[in-house]
């Protein structure tokens, strides 16, 4: 007994030492005890648009881009909110916050072995701004100085992107952009090889050359994407996996069934219908997990179009929707929305009170607004995941207060087209997944007047709110920023351009064969920003 105790104490000490040694070194550590090898089997419900990250406008394409390309920085930490070194080993801001310099790691290579230098980085961002590329994210990077002149063809390069030396690149911005690092870490900003792009031209989307954890083996459009390990990956010992196979065009419910049969290693997010299966299937249940973020669901109302030009009507509709019921439709995996800024983003205003479900009050407000008998209006609904279900529930609730919604369902691309036109859509249902954990990506992107037609489809344009948001977007002092955002959020709640629905948890079912290493922090790579972590995921044989 005594010897055993001593032995176990030594063991504990050793483990502690090992843990201390590994803790604090962040990304870049491999766990030697977990095996290398194996194939990760995933599926998507539609086809990838292109393997060129500059074209990564939709989720499926972005996830593919994350396997194939690395960016300057990546996300890490328990809540995946912290930025850490990726291709860039360090960065430094100028005092006024209008310029940031990145120092790249030494001896970076693309998957084909050619060197990755600051020139490739500069080329990547210039290309994103280039009108010829037609990148859906072009607008994001116009904060870089000289981008306007470049886009108009007045200059052949962007003056704000400066290659200081082969390992150093500097970005000069028009104004302080506190969230610029987040923008530089978007999947679309995967660093591409200048040589490869110039060689392949238009076919780069089929012959990608990047520095991601994996490289392309074969892409059969509409059927399958096969990737293999990139031996030149910048993190030693990673990726653990040999191959990644993504089956394309598989419906969501079929994906869950395939998971049950062991043909897929991870499926997410889980639809509410599939979630119900978990309750009855203990094996499924044990493979399920979720965490907060990144989606929020809302009904947007256009204050330029009657009857939504009357604030009372917008508020009435908020009182008229039973949000608890919506939570039930999401199997309880959601939280009633308070402010626009969700809990996982700094700037979240916990003090905001959501509108309670009060049909009587709703009817009262409608009468006050001049619609005692309600009204009828077309609501645009994209055919995307569970949005139609949410819309149907809202429709049912509002019909009880006399508001008749005619649901017009469209496929997602067509919906985005329709909703972009001013004055065409009075009310619509939509969800938003945060691209990065900064309030600018939520409240400013969705509700600032200047973003109307881009992601602000309500055409909400409040001068006071715009002012607050403009300030917050360009203030470097993070404390001050948060204050401003919270203020704006509170005003928006009162002004009610949305029916504020809920925040949805991200979830997935994961095969027990997939083991997280310390680098992947146990995150379910269920949403776009987390697919990077697959480089540190290992698959143990059965």
């Amino acid at each position: 007994m005594k010897a055993g105790k001593k032995g176990s104490r030594i063991f504990t000490v050793l483990m502690l030492v090992a843990f201390l040694m590994t803790a604090g070194s962040g990304v870049g550590l491999s766990a030697p005890s977990l095996p290398s090898g194996g194939t990760l089997n995933l599926a998507e419900n539609s086809d990838i648009k292109s393997l060129d990250p500059a074209q990564a406008g939709d989720g499926v394409t972005q996830r593919a881009a994350q396997f194939l390309f690395s960016r300057l920085l990546r996300y890490t930490g328990k809540t995946n909110n912290e930025l850490a070194a990726a291709l860039a080993e360090s960065w430094k801001w100028s005092g006024d916050g209008k310029s940031v310099t990145f120092k790249l790691r030494k001896n970076l290579m693309f998957s084909d072995g050619s060197p990755l230098t600051a020139d490739d980085v500069a080329f990547t961002f210039t290309r994103l701004l280039d009108p010829k590329t037609k990148s859906p994210y072009q607008g994001t990077y116009t904060v870089i100085k000289g981008s306007k002149d470049f886009m108009e063809g007045k200059t052949s390069t962007v003056s704000g992107i400066v290659v200081v030396d082969p390992e150093t690149v500097r970005f000069d911005l028009d104004k302080p952009v506190p969230y610029f690092l987040n923008q530089v870490s978007l999947p679309t900003a995967g660093v591409v090889s200048r040589k490869a792009v110039e060689k392949s031209g238009d076919t780069f989307g089929e012959r990608p050359a990047g520095a991601g954890a994996f490289m392309l083996d074969k892409w059969t459009r509409g059927q399958e994407l096969v990737l293999t390990r990139n031996k030149n990956y910048y993190l030693a010992g990673l990726p653990k996996l040999d191959r990644v196979v993504v089956k394309l065009g598989i419906a969501d419910n079929l994906q869950v069934m395939m998971f049950q049969r062991g043909e897929l290693d991870m499926v997410g997010p889980i639809s509410s219908a599939d979630y119900l299966k978990l309750e009855n299937d203990p094996k499924l249940k044990s493979s399920y997990y979720s965490h907060v973020g990144p989606k929020l669901y809302y009904i947007g109302m256009n204050p330029e179009m009657p009857p939504f030009n009357n604030k009372l009507v917008r508020q009435a509709l908020n009182y008229g929707v039973d949000k608890q019921k919506l939570l039930r439709l999401e199997n309880g995996r959601a939280e009633v929305m308070k402010g626009v800024i969700p809990p996982w983003v700094p700037g979240y205003n916990d003090s905001i009170q959501p509108y309670p479900y009060d049909p009587e009050k709703a009817k009262e407000l409608l009468s006050q607004a001049g619609y005692p008998n309600g009204f009828e209006v077309d609501m645009l609904v994209p055919d995307y995941r569970d949005i139609p279900q949410i819309a149907a529930s809202v429709q049912a609730d509002l019909s009880k207060i006399g508001v008749k919604l005619n649901l017009r369902q469209q496929s997602y691309p067509v919906f985005r087209q329709t909703v972009k036109e001013r004055g065409k859509t009075a009310i619509f249902a939509l969800q938003w997944g945060t691209d990065f954990p900064d309030a600018q990506n939520v409240i400013s992107t969705l509700l600032k007047g200047s973003m109307a037609g881009q992601q602000n489809f309500t055409w909400y344009n409040s001068p006071t709110v715009n002012n607050l948001l403009d300030q917050a977007d360009t203030t470097i002092d993070s404390k001050k920023r948060i204050e401003l955002y919270q203020q704006a959020d509170k005003m928006i709640q009162e002004d009610a351009p949305w029916i504020f629905c809920f925040y949805l948890k991200a979830d997935a079912i994961k095969s027990p064969q997939l083991k997280d290493t310390p680098d992947s922090f146990g995150r379910v790579p269920a949403d776009i920003t987390e697919y990077d972590h697959f480089d540190a995921v290992a698959k143990v044989p059965n």
């Binding site: 509409g222 065009g249 419906a251 069934m257 496929s411 691309p413 985005r416 087209q417």
Partner: protein, 306 residues
């Protein structure tokens, strides 16, 4: 006879031209700005101008059609604005999957439908006949999408014998082929049965006055040959329709064929792709009916070539 074939050929070509015209109307006449429709939502002014020039949209209507038609012949069927891939390339790329499903389903229908139809006709009005015809009734009335989903759940989920849709080896095509085959076979069974009964009745009368069994034997062969005529007609058009893509079944099973592509195209209002699919599909039907007409000649020399 050569004259007849020639005439049928010319007629088929004329029909194809007519179909291309209707297809042209879909792209050009229906929407407000055909250039925007062809170029897609994300097009800018430069792209639109290019399209206008390429397709001659600033010219008179008939010149537009001419440009469209010549483009078709050259293989330029436009570009899908959803994924910027050439339409014809996509259609041809997906054709093997559709052809596989179409041919397997077609053969399945024949294997199931024809023997059952013959059996029902021979044992007319017996228990066997009634049983078969009940099967036919159910087969004709079952919604394909319902049957497909049920088969999927039973044979791919509850009993994990078969794959859950998608493309792959021979086991992937079984369930979708059965879904189509079971409902389609019903037509053949009914058709052959009623055709054989009709022919038999006429021959029965003669046979009643015939002497000797050998004559009856010849008549049975004669019966089969004549009964198959309507079946062949139907079969030609049937297979042709399948080669154009089965929208519902391909969607239910995630089968990467032309039908699934068509469905996605319609959801995305991808007009160039839609009109390309319609044209592609129609071409097969025209070829199919031409083929049937020619085969007819050999099957039934009594046909008059008016």
């Amino acid at each position: 006879m050569g004259n007849y074939i020639l005439r049928r050929l010319i007629y088929a070509v004329v029909t194809l031209v007519g179909i291309s015209f209707i297809s042209f109307l879909i792209v050009y006449a229906v929407p407000a700005d055909p250039a925007a429709v062809i170029a897609g939502p994300s097009a800018d002014a430069i792209a639109l101008a290019n399209i206008r020039h390429q397709w001659g949209l600033d010219r008179p209507f008939i010149i537009q059609y001419e440009t469209y038609f010549l483009n078709l012949l050259r293989g330029d069927w436009g570009t899908s604005f959803f994924n910027q891939q050439p339409v014809l390339r996509q259609l041809l790329g997906r054709f093997p999957a559709t052809a596989e499903l179409g041919v397997v389903a077609f053969l399945l229908q024949l294997i199931i439908g024809i023997p059952l139809g013959a059996l029902a006709a021979i044992r007319q009005n017996t228990r066997t006949d009634h049983l078969i015809m009940t099967g036919v009734l159910v087969g004709l009335s079952l919604p394909r999408f319902w049957l497909g989903v049920i088969l999927l759940f039973i044979f791919a989920l509850k009993l994990p014998w078969l794959p859950l849709g998608g493309y792959g080896g021979w086991d992937h095509v079984i369930l979708p082929a059965i879904t189509v085959g079971v409902t389609g076979a019903a037509y053949y069974t009914r058709l052959l049965r009623s055709s054989m009964i009709e022919v038999k009745r006429q021959d029965y009368v003669l046979a009643a006055t015939a002497k000797g069994i050998s004559r009856a034997r010849v008549q049975i062969r004669h019966v089969m040959r004549n009964s198959l005529i309507p079946v062949v007609t139907w079969a030609g058009m049937d297979l042709a329709a399948y080669l154009g893509g089965l929208i519902i079944v391909e969607t239910v099973f995630g089968w990467p064929g032309i039908g699934q592509l068509t469905f996605q195209a319609i959801k995305n209002m991808d007009i160039p792709l839609i009109s390309g699919t319609v044209l592609f599909s129609a071409i097969f039907v025209v070829i199919g009916s031409l083929f049937v007409d020619i085969v007819y000649i050999f099957l039934d020399p009594r046909i008059s070539y008016e």
